[in-house]
Subunit: 151 residues, 3 copies
Amino acid sequence: MKSSEIARTEHGRQFVLVFEVGDEVVQQLNSWCNERQITAARLTGIGGFSTATVAWFDWQAHEFREVRIAEQVELLAISGDIAEQDGKAAVHAHVVLGTRDGTTRGGHLIEGYVRPTLELIVDEVPAHLRRRYDPDTGLALIALEDSSRIR
Amino acid sequence: MKSSEIARTEHGRQFVLVFEVGDEVVQQLNSWCNERQITAARLTGIGGFSTATVAWFDWQAHEFREVRIAEQVELLAISGDIAEQDGKAAVHAHVVLGTRDGTTRGGHLIEGYVRPTLELIVDEVPAHLRRRYDPDTGLALIALEDSSRIR
Amino acid sequence: MKSSEIARTEHGRQFVLVFEVGDEVVQQLNSWCNERQITAARLTGIGGFSTATVAWFDWQAHEFREVRIAEQVELLAISGDIAEQDGKAAVHAHVVLGTRDGTTRGGHLIEGYVRPTLELIVDEVPAHLRRRYDPDTGLALIALEDSSRIR
């Protein structure tokens, strides 16, 4: 994966990331955010995966159920945000995937192996986004507080 | 739903919105925009719904056909814009939803009940976006005019 | 298609584009980018198509397989970027489409005929994004280099 910082304003940096064949997105994105101390951002992009694992949140059981997509797919949409969780950057991304016959799959992204490419744009947002464990859902959810308010 | 204004430039404000279990998105977003006098913006986000209603535009009949999604789904993508219609903010959003088996549904968002969370980013755009009734389609469409041109 | 430049900063211009019934998106967007010398941007939007052709990249054959969608669909998500390829602007966009029954299709966008509308926001990015032929994949991929780094 190669990245390039393309803009820097008082409100944050903007990056373009281009992944290569075989790169696993979630792990590389988490590492990259931690290296650059990016703890609040949003991401969008398109590309393709050779295989991926997505998940669906089972509200009754309060846990994720994984679905394995073991085929080449177009990455039709990836949307997500980056927040701080337990002192580290944590990527939360959802994906929509397109198969050979034009039907689609998708879910919460657990892992995705890039093929042939993935083009992401990451925009820092000028807030302190922090995930906190939420006992009602069993999930780490973004907790907005006054401290996250810039103005 | 909690919101936090995270940036303000000459070109508009940027907000993070975090919805809670049971919140209905479309109605709350319309109210929130009207309270803050936001009449031109775009929104992106991810989350989950306990139930949702989406719609497909029937071109022959010139009306929307509703499809009810009566199950827990991942909100894989929500894209939309906010424009002024009849003097009030009107949200126009499309969603892609992921089910338990990784298949997807989607349409024009009529209503969606958040569960477990919904994380939205709303960016004001520095234009006057106004929807006007279009007799050819029977829809309120954004009418770009010279007056919407800033430079 | 009508467009309006709504913001201009040191980091680039922002445009709203509203397409009309019958407009073909890919060709019109490529022409529009070339007229305005836009060679690095990202785009997002929502709308509807009367018909569309999407594609899936066949990794073994190293070529795209087309899937024709010959029905009215909601354009649930369009994500993409604009880069320079062989001296001209080249749009690379992926779409998710919603059908009458709420199921979805999608792929790499080959062509899409707008009906009833398409509302796009195009943001220039302050980088030189250039696609180069990649012999390993047979595709024109964005090549990030030091020259694309602004700071």
